[in-house]
Structure formats: C-alpha cells, structure tokens
C-alpha cells in the first residue's frame, strides 16, 4: 500500500503545471469597461463566449483547461473573450500563460463588465448570440457538458 502511494506521488509530482501551449502571451492586457464590452460584442461577426475570471479564483483555475480546449475546437465559429476582474495584471498574465488561454483577454479591475452584463461572483460565463445579445449566463464554474451544450446551442 505504501509503495503504491509512493509511486502515485512520484507520478503526480511529474505532472507538468507549466504553460500548456506554445501560444504567445501578451505583455499587457487592454482594459475594458461596460460600454467597451458592448462595442466588442457588436463588432464580432459570430457568437461569443465571454468568461469572467481572476487568477486568485480557484474555480477559474479548474475551468480554464476546459475553456482552452473549447477555444481550440470552436475558434472558427465562436469568439472567446476573457475578462480578468479584480486582479493583479502580472498574475493575470501568468494565469493566461499557465493554461494556454489562447484568445483575447481584457483587464477589468472594477468589475465593470459583470456590472453591465449581470451576474455576481467569479467565474461567470456569458453566451452571446451573433447579434451581440446575451442569450445565457452561467454563474460559477462551468462543466464540460454545460459548455458543450451551450456551444451547440450557439452554433446549431
């Protein structure tokens, strides 16, 4: 039993937590406010997923690999947008690099975007139609099934 635990610990210790992709990480994050998000969504020519996150947020860490995978699969059909709220910019950049979140991110220190679109806490994921209107809001950590279902709804 002890031997099995030791082997398990060694295997787990070998698991990488370094950057998951070779994507370029931005040097700085552009800031955004309440009106900015509407302009951004109106300019997009396709549905969008807007994920509000923070580097200090534990559930955000858990859902980040899922969002990275979803972006890789749907990037041609859906625009993924990350909004880092109430965060330290350097830590936010580290978070983006760590999980290979290879889509556009913005910095929103004062939570202007969630205040504009609705929803409390972090994370929040907004599903936005091609017309720029929010069709669904998911508060809290999102699981694969829900994300896949909502993406099917947006692209179907």
């Amino acid at each position: 039993m002890r031997r099995a635990l030791a082997v398990g610990a060694i295997v787990l210790a070998g698991c990488s937590t370094a950057s998951l992709s070779g994507a370029e990480t931005p040097d700085a994050l552009p800031t955004i406010d309440g009106s900015g998000i509407h302009s951004l969504l109106a300019a997009a020519d396709r549905p969008a997923v807007v994920n509000v996150w923070a580097s200090w947020c534990l559930p955000c860490r858990s859902e980040a690999p899922l969002l990275a995978a979803a972006n890789r699969k749907f990037e041609d059909e859906v625009a993924f947008i990350g909004i880092a709220v109430q965060d330290d910019e350097d830590r936010a950049l580290e978070f983006i690099a760590e999980f290979g979140l290879d889509f556009d991110h913005y910095f929103d220190r004062n939570r202007a975007v969630p205040a504009e679109l609705g929803g409390i806490g972090v994370p929040i994921t907004y599903f936005v139609g091609a017309d720029g209107m929010v069709v669904n809001t998911h508060s809290g950590i999102i699981d694969e099934r829900t994300l896949a279902l909502m993406l099917d709804e947006l692209t179907g």
Binding site: L12, L20, S62, P65, K73, E144, A148
Partner: protein, 225 residues
C-alpha cells in the same frame, strides 16, 4: 457549495439505499458510499492530471468537482475500491450490484435538480428547450437514468450464480452510457470506445461465469429474489 450537484448525488444515494433495503443488504450502505466517494476522487484526480493541473501543487482543486471528473478514472477507482473492500467474498459483489446500478440511475435522474438533462437537438414530443431557446432537445440523462433503473430491477430479479450479476451490472451501466453517448454534446472525442470495451469485457465475463456456474452446479447469490 454546489447545492444542485449535491441534490443529484443525494438522489443517487437515496435510490441506492432503497435497493439495498429491498435486497436486505442495508448494512453495506457505508461500503457503497465509500465506493462512490473513491470513484469521485479518483475521477477528479485523473481529470486534473489530464488537464495539466498538478494535484500536489493544487490539492484543493480536487474539491472542485464541477471542474471535471474523468468517467474512466472514476469507474476504475470505484471498481478497484469495491473489489478491495469485498476481497475474499465473491458473492457480495453480486449483492451490491443492483444497488450500485440504482445509484447510478439516481445520479443521472438527478439532472432535473440542476437543469442538466438535455443533450442533442431532436424534435421529440417529450423533449424540451433550454431557457430562452426554441431548440427542442433530447432529455438524454433521463434516458440513461431510465435504462439503468430498468437494469437495476432486472438485476434484482435475476436468479444467477456468483459473479454474473456483478459483471452484468458493469455491462448494463456501460451499455446505457454507450447508447446515450451520441446524444451528449462533447468537447472531446467522447468516451464511447471505453464504454463499448467495458460492456464487451463484462458480457464476456458474465458468459464465462454463467457457463462455469452451469457446469459446477448452483451457487446462487444470496440476494436472489
């Protein structure tokens, strides 16, 4: 705290408890809850590792079940713990099998508490649409729950020799997931091959055990109804 997820889990536990009572194996309730817990943790650990998150560096992430639980990892962990917990007493696996399948049915049926029953789009009269949408979808988790509930009933009533009921339970759960998997939108390639493999292996094992039982004479499980 994710209360709707908890409600789904409690639905599964309640159904498991009910079947254990019916089959006179209520004393095994703790064991099966332990199996479910070990399955959950092992599935979560596998999901974390697969996503590149080191459980040793971020141990608290294990608690964020919503972040993903790997089905194969969970099943392997649960089966391993179950086999370990009943070691040296092969008949007991058969006794627990109907309750375990009923628990799975309850977990899937618990989708109603968290509004997570829907799968692929399909114009079926019993389907419904997501809030704010007009696209009717299959209630795929209820399909799986129904199949597993029927399977649990069949297992309770099945007078078979030792080992057969347990292996058939694995085949039933894997089969129910395999049949319904195409109706579940997924970001990855899905786990259909794993379900097919598990079902095939379980059916082969059940066939082998049945033949062996017929040759060696009756050694029926104690919970035969």
């Amino acid at each position: 705290m994710e209360f709707t997820l908890l409600a789904s889990a409690l639905t599964g536990v309640a159904m498991m408890w009910g079947v254990l009572r019916i089959t006179n194996h209520a004393a095994d309730f703790d064991r099966l809850v332990g199996v479910a817990a070990v399955g959950l943790v092992s599935g979560r650990l596998v999901a974390m590792v697969a996503a590149g998150v080191n459980p040793l560096v971020h141990p608290i992430d294990v608690l964020v079940v919503r972040g993903g639980v790997d089905t194969v990892g969970a099943a392997a962990g649960a089966l391993a713990f179950l086999a370990w917990s009943v070691r040296g007493n092969r008949v007991r696996l058969d006794d627990l099998a109907p309750a375990a399948v009923a628990g799975m049915a309850g977990w899937h049926g618990g989708c109603v508490w968290r509004n997570a029953c829907l799968g692929a789009a399909g114009e079926v009269p019993w389907g419904w649409a997501l809030s704010g949408s007009s696209t009717v979808r299959h209630p795929v988790e209820l399909y799986a729950a129904g199949l597993m509930a029927l399977g649990a009933i069949a297992l309770v009533r099945l007078p078979v020799g030792w080992g057969v009921r347990a292996t058939l339970a694995v085949a039933l759960v894997a089969g129910a997931r395999l049949i319904t998997e195409p109706l579940r939108p997924s970001l990855g390639g899905g786990t259909g091959w794993w379900y097919a493999g598990a079902m095939a292996a379980a059916l082969v094992a059940a066939g082998y055990l049945t033949v062996r039982h017929m040759r060696m004479g009756p050694t029926t499980s104690s919970s035969t109804a």
